[in-house]
Symmetry: C2
Subunit: 223 residues, 2 copies
């Protein structure tokens, strides 16, 4: 039997999502839990990146992961092996999570013993960008095979993210991916965006990203 729960998330009843998100952040501050919302396209490497991130930070923080998926639980099974606390959220076809749904997930996960909570959002560059989940910071992954033009095509996602992880840099020689152009396009959407090129499979670049996340988490839970 698996050690993780599967929670069927219900549609939110709140009319004002932004207000719910602010309330959730206030609660997280009181609970001394940092929440990261991790977004990307399908197949860009969210789960592998998460595994490496947990490996880098698990000795310093108690980590809890919410794996949102339409109805599978392959990711929760993978993350469970890292030793992190994990819950699988099923959205029943819904293409995003809002603050009310994230709150259900956090309640299911239980954050009393969690310093760093990470929401692996639905694989989708469109809808998740439109809903504040209540996370303290938003991060997204763009993988090299997807192309450097994506900030032009999914502008909202790039503009609301604090961090861009450019993943699968090991396959750069096999794709027409221009890292400088990608940076330029992304910074056009959000000039304050932090950009970390990584290879989640090999662990390359994970240290710099983990340093950033460590700093943010400490500032939130000790601040």
């Amino acid at each position: 039997m698996e050690g993780y729960r599967i929670l069927e998330i219900k549609q939110s009843v709140f009319e004002n999502n932004d207000r719910e998100a602010d309330k959730l952040r206030e609660q997280l501050k009181k609970d001394r839990t940092f929440l990261l919302n991790l977004m990307s396209s399908p197949g860009s490497g969210k789960t592998t990146t998460l595994r490496q991130t947990i490996a880098a930070l698990k000795d310093e923080f108690k980590i809890g992961v919410m794996e949102a998926d339409i109805d599978s639980d392959v990711d929760a099974a993978t993350i469970e092996k890292t030793g992190a606390k994990v819950i699988q959220l099923h959205t029943g076809g819904m293409c995003h999570l809002d603050a009310g749904m994230t709150r259900q997930g956090l309640e299911g996960l239980g954050v009393d013993d969690v310093d760093l909570a990470i929401l692996e959002n639905i694989g989708n560059l469109v809808c998740p960008a439109e809903f504040d989940t209540g996370a303290v910071k938003n991060a997204m992954i763009l993988s090299v095979p997807e192309g450097h033009d994506k900030p032009l095509k999914y502008p909202l996602m790039f503009s609301i993210c604090d961090v861009l992880l450019i993943n699968k840099i090991d396959v750069m020689p096999y794709f027409d991916f221009d890292l400088d152009k990608c940076r330029e396009y992304a910074l056009r959407r959000n000039p304050n965006m932090k950009i970390f090129p990584i290879c989640a499979r090999t662990g390359e670049g994970i240290d710099a990203w983990a340093d950033w996340l460590r700093e943010q988490t400490n500032a939130w839970i000790k601040g």
Copy 2:
């Protein structure tokens, strides 16, 4: 000045999308226009696949392309160079097209002189699967870097598609992608799915896919 129009699509007013989709298909049958709805994740190669498909079929059919995008027009500019008729549809943030929106696009494109119309849907494996656009057939692209497990994670998309194009097979040696497993998982969602491995960049495998599309188009416009 570009030779293509940009059309701002309005939200549909119809309550029953399935009925609108059926009405649109009846109209397309009368107009002798075949409509293909092409879907995928961001960056899986829809536009490059479309370029190759147009090159393979442009001597036999008059081809019209609708490029749906949230607000850019990079794809329409690319497709215009193929010589196909093209219109850029802006969805204003909406994550899918339904039948009413597709009808607006077809009216903007003009189908009197079009045998084969292709809708390049929004890059998203979730929401577009939920709305019948009125297309005669649905096709999707999954690219090798996205991983062979995607039929497990985006079940609805795989179950509603008549065709699966597995793209970027040239980079298979650099990824842990199991083609047999991908076929097995996809056929579990839809046992009648046609599966074509392709490399849109080099043109590999495009002939078999173009043969299928030729046959379907002829059956519809001459039947």
